[in-house]
Symmetry: C2
Subunit: 307 residues, 2 copies
């Protein structure tokens, strides 16, 4: 059975996401304390892959994942999952919600259910914890009356009362997770794929503009750009780019070779089916057929047969 690492502890949204990302096969999930540790377990071959959080629609990018992906031997993402962030609320069975005096969770989680808590657990004071999973444990051991947790946490605490499910003040908060592996056979193109790369441009006027033009000129839709310091020196940045398309697509390959020529560093971070499965829109000028025709035309021109 393949071993899959994930950012622990047990019972968090990352475990839940990693279970969903590996739902197609039987896997042994292994919690790691940090993203760094989970990714290194992949690099060392201790596990086949790792489930890590990439970005949250409220909190933004997960810096530890961005830095971890490029801080060592190559890794590629082979799948993504977008998980709606809706919480379960667990309660000590003997406590009446209206009289609960404390509610534990990760501060981000507490912030995302503030409205709900003020109505349903009106007397409970916040008990901030390192993770939603820790909060569940605090209720189980009697330190807190209630906990705001990921739905997966309930499997570890069947003794606690589930007061509510699908709790979220804002309906559309989501987190995007990746399943990351060592380089190997890539997922097949589906027509609804995303490609992730990280580039370090040369320190020249207009360098980032040229990077983006390599994409836009080929009609490639950039869905995300994040910058992180390279840590070499102040003012040097690595850009994480996500765009529509698969590295097997000619227009994507063409853009990537352009970036490879002009950038100080290009790291391929994977091509995988988009979580939303929405087919990628390709302009006529950037279709496989247009590329084939333009190459045939150039061959004929170079051979002196047409002009």
């Amino acid at each position: 059975m393949p071993r899959i690492a994930y950012l622990g502890p047990q019972g968090t949204f990352t475990e839940q996401a990693t279970r969903a990302l590996t739902a197609d096969f039987a896997a042994e999930l292994i919690a790691h304390d940090t993203v760094h540790s989970a990714l290194d377990a992949v690099r060392l071959g201790d596990v086949e892959a790792a489930g890590v959080p990439m970005e949250n629609s409220v909190e933004g990018a997960v810096a530890a994942t961005l830095d971890g992906l490029v801080g060592g031997a190559p890794l590629v993402a082979v799948a993504e999952l977008v998980l709606p962030i809706r919480f379960d609320v667990l309660l000590r069975p003997e406590v009446d919600p209206l009289h609960a005096t404390s509610v534990a969770s990760h501060p981000h989680a507490l912030a995302q259910v503030r409205g709900w808590l003020s109505e349903r657990l009106p007397r409970a004071l916040d008990v901030p914890t390192a993770s939603t999973a820790t909060a569940a444990a605090e209720v189980a051991n009697g330190t807190a009356d209630a906990a705001v947790v990921a739905p997966v946490a309930t499997r570890y605490h069947p003794e606690l009362t589930r007061l509510a499910s699908e709790v979220a003040d804002v309906d559309d908060a989501v987190t995007r997770f990746l399943l990351v592996r060592r380089p190997g056979l890539l997922p097949d193109p589906t027509g609804a794929d995303r490609t992730s790369i990280a580039v370090v441009a040369h320190d020249e006027v207009g360098a980032l503009g040229e990077v983006l033009s390599e994409l836009s000129l080929r009609g490639i839709n950039l869905s995300r750009i994040e910058s992180r310091p390279t840590k070499d020196r102040l003012g040097a940045y690595r850009f994480f780019l996500d765009f529509d398309g698969h590295v097997a697509d000619t227009r994507i390959g063409d853009a990537l070779t352009g970036l490879h020529r002009r950038c100080f560093e290009v790291r391929f971070l994977g091509s995988f089916p988009k979580a939303d499965s929405k087919p990628v829109n390709v302009r006529a000028a950037d279709s496989e057929q247009a590329f084939r025709r333009s190459m045939s035309w150039l061959d004929e021109v170079r051979a002196g047969r047409i002009a």
Copy 2:
């Protein structure tokens, strides 16, 4: 002996340029009345090639040549020549220059030696002619006392006195000529080449900008851009682009396939050694080696061997 057409009549700068452009081989030169007629003689196979004027540093583009190159079956330029425009002045042998009463030439030629004429032929009035060659004929038949002509004209009128050579008020007036052929084996790359194309962009916002970006992104130096109406409808233009490099160069081919995909029409008008022989400057990111390395890298990434 190959037959070569040129824009006549005999004895003009175009004959002189065409002689220089065909100096490597014995050729029979055949004057044509118009650029159109000379180019059609090539298209029909009546001649091997044609010598035509492309642009003048004072007068600008030669519209008849631009329109003629794209108005029919494909033609490609295989050589260019930049000719300094300096005139000979021919005189009837029996006339004293100070008493010459008329000086014949093409109006552009008369304008380019105005200062010289006022000093050396102070009493001569202008006699405008259709070409500098016609002016020489008018002196030969006694209609005018003097003529401002292309140096080559003197070979047709040995009976006339050559009053002066290398006459030009402005020293650096030049005309660029092309030797044009049907498509066939292209001149070999020399490292100091020019490529000419004509493109019709789609009628979309930013279309010309994208065309120019295909060149600039690959570090391709655009040396000239001219627009001519396509004659289909008002506001539709064809752009004539000259840039440094040979179609056999990978960066040039890469840019051309990009243009072919995005443009309504691309015509290749030739790759040939630049008249100035100045080596083309190629950025490291656009070198043959950089292209090769980027393609190898992409192949490895697609095969899942590196990331």
